[in-house]
């Protein structure tokens, strides 16, 4: 081999190496870090907590997990208090999501019409959902305060006549619902608004030519066209309602007694706050997950049916 040929060979070698890295390899190299992170932060905890849900284990005890089979699930499902809190959460979700749907849709119908300052008003309406839920909870606790809070004044019941909303077991859940509705109706409005704006104008024109009433147009055009997006909003809000924690802790701490003890709050008490019953908390979390998946499936099936019809 002459010196020139050797030099040429050296020059060629790196290019050959570069060529050897295929598109597939580059693709893998880019995806790999994300996959590793996903596995470490999402997939592994998911399966590890599934394993822990079958063990007697406290994360701070220093003792290794002890396999107990379905005992944790039995304990959770046979606890009458847990069922009480599930029922309470269901009631909260029904009230809260129901009101959010009605109010959110109504607000979308209002701001859909272009009028002077409608953009500004839409932005103002969206502010609550941009706030931190804990701040919202603390803020509303002050609004509800019967001594200095403005709510009782606005209702014409200045102190000492006004009720203590958060101390009364009858009113406490409604108080939390009201705050959740105030905070998240704008989210429903936003989704509905995008649905409303996507409805072709010719549908209304055709209906008008056929002399269809406003109610008929709403019932036969507006609602069916917005329904898929409305269902997505309801799905998201229902999932969130089952996970509601921050606002409750900021407002009532689950009280009075356990009048607002939603399942997420109860789960927090089992998993942390000195108890650290990690095994039971994991089983409880999986039960909640299964319920949320079941409800979501029902929604999605209904949504697909709606789409099919559309």
């Amino acid at each position: 081999m002459t010196a020139t040929t050797a030099l040429q060979a050296e020059k060629v070698t790196p290019r050959h190496r570069v060529r050897r890295i295929s598109d597939k390899t580059i693709q893998t190299a880019f995806i790999l870090p994300t996959m590793v992170l996903l596995i470490l932060w999402n997939i592994f905890p998911l399966f590890y907590s599934l394993y822990l849900s079958f063990t007697e284990y406290s994360v701070i005890s220093g003792a290794p997990p002890r396999w107990v089979g379905f005992e944790n699930y039995r304990n959770v499902l046979s606890d009458p208090l847990i069922w009480k809190y599930f029922a309470l959460t269901g009631r909260f979700a029904l009230l809260s999501v129901g009101l959010q749907t009605i109010i959110g849709f109504a607000m979308a119908m209002i701001v859909r019409a272009k009028f002077r300052g409608s953009g500004f008003i839409t932005t103002l309406i969206l502010i609550p959902m941009m706030l931190s839920p804990v701040v919202v909870g603390k803020f509303w606790a002050m609004i509800y305060n019967p001594t200095f809070g403005p709510l009782n004044y606005l209702l014409g019941m200045p102190p000492p006549r006004g009720p203590d909303w958060l101390a009364n077991p009858e009113f406490a859940l409604w108080s939390v619902v009201l705050v959740d509705v105030w905070m998240w109706s704008p989210f429903v409005m936003l989704l509905c608004l995008s649905g409303l704006k996507a409805i072709p104008e010719y549908l209304y024109e055709a209906a008008a030519i056929d002399r269809a009433s406003a109610w008929f147009q709403f019932w036969r055009i507006t609602l069916p066209q917005v329904a898929p997006l409305l269902m997505i909003a309801i799905l998201f809000r229902t999932i969130e309602a089952f996970k509601q924690f921050d606002v409750v802790m900021g407002l009532t701490g689950g009280g009075p007694g356990d009048a607002t003890e939603l399942i997420a709050v109860k789960l927090y008490r089992i998993a942390f706050l000195g108890r650290f019953d990690t095994g039971i908390a994991s089983a409880f979390a999986y039960i909640v997950l299964i319920i949320i998946i079941a409800i979501s499936n029902l929604y999605i099936r209904y949504l697909n049916r709606l789409r099919g019809e559309a």
């Binding site: 701070i60 220093g62 001594t147 006004g162 689950g254 009280g255 009075p256």
Partner: protein, 451 residues
């Protein structure tokens, strides 16, 4: 050939990396810094100030790391779970003792405290509640650091007003003064409850989240002769004794009649806020939060604020719910850091250091310092504090304390704030659930007896 060479280079690099990150096998270095973890509040600031002296004396820099109260337990627990060494010492709550001792998070300090004489330097009650587990075993896991308990602040301007005094005497037949009994406290609270003037008799703990309402109720319960357990840990017939039921009824009446509307989920900051805003005549709080009331910059009534210890129950018994913390050593430290931490505690327990700790604003547990005139006079609430520390009592500190606490919080809050059911039903429920939890944890050995 070149491939082999590359492999060798990679291997050599790996060896180098491992070597760089491996612990050097050199002799133990002297410890030059230590970290104490505590909650974010004034006493932690005083402790940080005091530790500057230790740096001067021993050449060891001590950092007092503060965590907000809301996340303090979470931070400590995470460190326990990870067997971490982010802190060398922790000034932990008395209720954590059982969990920390049985699960091996704290270094046992029994021999150390006895040999150094530190065990004898503090009051018996603080040694029992801040350091000992199991109670009565003589095994210690902490050095009593910040003594604390519930007491009362009151508006002297209202209590000493001649018109108020005359009106009170006419209505109740005795002089308006600092209440000696809970019954008198109720009278005074009712007397000063004037919603039309936005003035209320008391602010008392009602918060449900962690332990507030239970701590508040305990003050009355213990003074009424009730308790959470008997000598054998039995709870049935104890937690729901007639005395306990009467105490809980009293607490509900006090809150219903005389606390500001809206105080349905309050703890120490809110009590102080009600006092500072002039809305209450008397406020129940931990002594550790009274410095804010004695400070004219934060309390416009500072000059007319007085303090008193818990009043007596119907039979003359007097008790106060214990707060406060002991300083413990993290069990996951290497031996040289454990020794350095012990040296720090030894220094901190010295009488002259304890006196400085007290003068800075810390609540010493040192017997001699507590009785000294300097301590009693340095702050307006210290006399009431010294009196209180002779009559403190605490909730459970066993490993399942959090389970017991959750039940007490839920049921007490439901009855006192929510008005659900009656006091007997409330205490019956607590007794039954406590019995179940304690039996499952093996803390009650005796077979269940019918009540």
């Amino acid at each position: 050939m070149s491939k082999k060479l590359h492999l060798l280079v990679v291997f050599a690099l790996l060896i180098g990396l491992v070597g760089a990150f491996a612990q050097p096998a050199t002799a133990q270095q002297p410890v030059k810094e230590l970290t104490i973890l505590w909650a974010e509040w004034d006493p932690a600031v005083y402790l940080a100030e005091l530790m500057k002296d230790y740096e001067k004396e021993a050449g060891v820099k001590v950092t007092v790391k503060q965590e907000p109260w809301g996340s303090f337990l979470d931070v400590v627990s995470k460190e326990w779970a990870a067997k971490g060494t982010a802190f060398d010492l922790v000034v932990g709550d008395s209720q954590w003792l059982g969990q920390a001792a049985t699960q091996g998070h704290y270094v046992e300090l029994t021999d150390f405290l006895k040999e150094t004489g530190l065990a004898d330097s503090v009051t018996a009650a603080t040694l029992t509640y801040y350091a000992e587990y199991p109670t009565g075993s003589g095994r210690y896991w902490a050095f009593p650091t910040e003594g604390d308990a519930n007491g009362w602040a009151y508006r002297k301007d209202l209590f000493e007003d001649p018109d108020e005094k005359a009106a009170f005497k006419e209505k109740y037949g005795y002089e308006l003064d600092v209440p000696k009994t809970w019954a008198q406290l109720m009278d005074i609270a009712k007397f000063f409850t004037r919603p039309e003037e936005n003035l209320y008799g008391v602010a008392i703990y009602t918060q449900k989240d962690y332990d507030a309402i239970t701590m508040g109720v305990q003050n009355v319960m213990f003074s009424y002769g009730a308790d959470w357990k008997d000598a054998n840990n039995n709870v049935l017939g104890v937690v729901n004794s007639p005395e306990a039921i009467a105490a809980v009824e009293f607490y509900r009446e006090l809150w219903t009649c005389c606390a500001p509307p809206g105080s349905s989920n309050i703890f120490f900051p809110e009590v102080n806020n009600y006092f500072i805003s002039g809305q209450i005549a008397m406020g129940m709080n931990y002594f550790a939060f009274f410095p804010a009331l004695a400070n004219p910059a934060t309390n416009p009534y500072a000059d007319v604020t007085g303090y008193f210890a818990m009043p007596a129950g119907p039979t003359g018994l007097r008790f106060a719910a214990l707060g406060g913390q002991g300083m413990s050593i993290n069990a996951y430290l290497p031996p040289e850091r454990i020794e350095a931490a012990k040296e720090l505690i030894k220094w901190f327990g010295r009488e002259d250091v304890q006196m400085k700790w007290a003068l800075l604003g810390g609540y010493t547990c040192n017997k001699k310092v507590l009785a000294s005139p300097e301590f009693l006079e340095v702050a307006p609430y210290n006399a009431a504090f010294a009196e209180t520390m002779e009559m403190v009592k605490d909730f459970w500190n066993v490993p399942v304390y959090a389970d017991l606490l959750e039940v007490a919080q839920r049921e007490l809050h439901a009855y006192i704030v929510g008005g659900e059911g009656d006091a007997k039903t409330c205490m019956d429920k607590i007794a039954q659930e406590h019995d179940k939890i304690l039996r499952a944890a093996g803390l009650i050995k005796e077979p269940a007896k019918s009540e």
